[in-house]
Amino acid sequence: MTVESTAARGTSRSSSGKRTAAAKTAAKKAPAKKSASRAKRGSAPAQPELVQLLTPEGERVEHPDYAIDLKPEELRGLYRDMVLTRRFDSEATSLQRQGELGLWASLLGQEAAQIGSGRALRDDDYVFPTYREHGVAWCKGVDPANLLGMFRGVNNGGWDPNSNNFHLYTIVIGSQALHATGYAMGVTKDGADSAVVAYFGDGASSQGDVAEAFTFAAVYNAPVVFFCQNNQWAISEPTEKQSRVPIYQRAAGFGFPGVRVDGNDVLAVLAVTRAALEHARSGQGPMLVEAFTYRMGAHTTSDDPTRYRADDERVAWEAKDPILRLRTYLENEGLADEAFFAGLEKESEELGVSVREKIRTMPDPDTMAIFENVYADGHALIDEERAQFAEYLASFADADETAGTAGRGH
């Protein structure tokens, strides 16, 4: 299945004419600013307001507080990022099914939230991801194959966070919000104007570490953007099991602004994240962005969403597909031609081939890697255990030779 075909499938569904709550264009003012949008827009929305600049139907709309003006090539760039990210993601899911990965956490449906926020970043900004930020990693220039190492089981992280200002994936929920905050405190101490983004999800919003991160960031006025992808589901638990208020409203209690953005609208996410980053780097402290999106797939490849959620919910969100709506906009406005889409399809195929090849040739680590990098300055016990284990393994050397597996590192 190609990305384009997914988008095409979405087109037919959206033509049913149904509109959902999140598709209603509603304005959420940035707390620091005045807004007359509510009065202008008439009836109060049933759902909390969210910033939207591109409707699910691909119609460009304006927002009083968040404007964006992108060149055609920038719009095509966002589209390309989302398409390639989805392609990489679906390739990884396939590789898990083929036994090449032990697990995969798909970002399907969250491409706009990740590309929109990721493309708002400067090179010197630092990202603290969960384990699902494949699109943000793409924007930061992390080799997609690097992301697969821990899911294949060849490492527990596997890249140098400082080479792309993209920290290691964090599996324990919410822990990284504190690391991001501490890092941001360091940025301030250095007198730099970089910003830091802490990614987390709706489930993580219940974690004490996230609440403590909010407190520390507010108290120290740290230049950190808390970027919550509310994808509606924390494995099987819906957001109402995490919070009795919309998540972005939590920020108010900590003393900084919060805003909800249509997380499937890459333009709105880009505009809002840019504003939040500017807020941070201009010394105004943290901001919480809640990207209202949907996890189209399972929590991970080990999950079975049919046990806890109805398919019609997923179908309704398919109509709000982030890639589809930008494609509609590009086509309707004549901002991209067939050659562009065809070229991207080809690039997408090539990415798939490249990822497949890289993962299938990714070597297992040497057995003795167990003992590597446990300590920076060494540790007598590790030295002793390493030597003992090496000796133990060496005792099989003759048997290995007989079996023809000598030279495998032990």
């Binding site: 504190l178 905050t181 590597e372 007598a380």
Partner: protein, 329 residues
């Protein structure tokens, strides 16, 4: 640095001087924790540091231990060397997840590309008549975790130097401060060349039996050895100084000489560091041992109310009782 001896200093002041010297030596060193600023910490270990180094480097934090350690990790990722204070032993557990799950593993997860030079200071142990959660000895819970190093000084000179070395270490170090010994004075020689951080020290030579201890129990063991001498017994006291790694070589050398070992700590003996030492020394010194390795420590019960701690804590008599039992084999 000019050679100088600070003369007699209490342990708490020695740590204070050590933090001061570290703050002076490296602008990346930070001190952070609850009440470490104006108050100077509840034990005054950080007294005067904020006044001299400013609020940017000596940081009063919100009252949230996970937040303190979690942000220290972020600061370390940014190139800082945070020294964080957990106000009391029993308050470390909200930070346990960040310490065990994040701090200890970060270097390995990044394949060695990042370092975690974070020191976590924990005033620990009993004997000061405190209320619940203020007298615990949780060192085994940290020594059990790969990626962490755990040390505990027993005297002022070690307190000074081991803190300096812990701060210079590129690995996370849990620094257990023997709070009942904070006021014990000793000579601090700031011009000396210190022993390696994780090397044990023979605090008192002897021939009949080895007492191994660290932190607050070293003094107790030295007192026990002095008392035993009056009865004609020569006890060797090994100050382990480090609970992870443990300098088994020094213990082994001692036990090969004495043939008997008693390990003493305040922490419960069940799964305690004494158990690990007993197992390792039995492996290493099986044919030298004249008796089983014995342990003296806390019971498998919550730390008792202060009115009972004199009975609960290993004291001179309980150590000598174990010595008697060992020598009776």
């Amino acid at each position: 640095m000019a050679a100088k001896s600070s003369g007699q200093l209490p342990v708490a002041k020695a740590i204070n001087e050590s933090l001061r010297a570290s703050l002076e030596a490296d602008p990346k060193v930070l001190v952070m924790g609850e009440d470490v600023g104006k108050l100077g910490g509840v034990f005054r270990v950080t007294d005067g540091l904020q006044k001299d180094f400013g609020e940017d480097r000596v940081i009063d934090t919100p009252l949230a231990e996970s937040g303190i350690v979690g942000t220290a990790i972020g600061l370390a990722l940014r190139g800082y060397r945070p020294v964080v204070e957990i106000q009391f032993d029993g308050f470390v557990f909200p930070a346990y997840d960040q310490i065990v799950t994040q701090l200890a593993k970060m270097h390995a997860r990044a394949l060695g590309k990042v370092k975690m030079p974070v020191v976590i200071r924990i005033p620990y142990g009993g004997g000061i008549g405190a209320v619940e959660h203020h007298s615990e000895s949780p060192e085994a819970l940290f020594a059990h975790v790969a990626g962490l190093k755990c040390v505990s000084p027993s005297n002022a000179n070690d307190a000074y130097w081991m803190m300096r070395q812990a701060i210079e270490s590129d690995d996370p170090v849990i620094f257990f401060e023997p709070k009942r010994r904070y006021w014990d004075k000793g000579v601090v020689d700031t011009s000396a060349i210190p022993a390696p951080l994780h090397e044990a020290h023979v605090a008192r030579p002897g021939t009949d039996l080895t007492l191994a201890a660290y932190g607050p129990m070293v003094k107790t063991c030295l007192e026990a050895a002095a008392a035993a001498e009056e009865e004609g017994r020569s006890l060797e006291v090994v100050d382990l100084r480090s609970m992870s790694p443990i300098d088994f070589d020094t213990v082994q050398r001692s036990v090969e000489k004495t043939g008997r070992l008693v390990v003493v700590h305040e922490a419960p003996v069940f799964y305690g560091s004494g158990a690990e030492i007993a197992a390792r020394i039995t492996e290493r010194c099986f044919y030298h041992l004249e008796s089983p390795v014995l342990r003296v420590g806390g019971f498998h019960a919550p730390y008792p109310p202060a009115r009972l701690e004199e009975e609960y804590l290993p004291g001179l008599d309980r150590v000598l009782d174990a010595v008697d039992r060992s020598l009776a084999y």
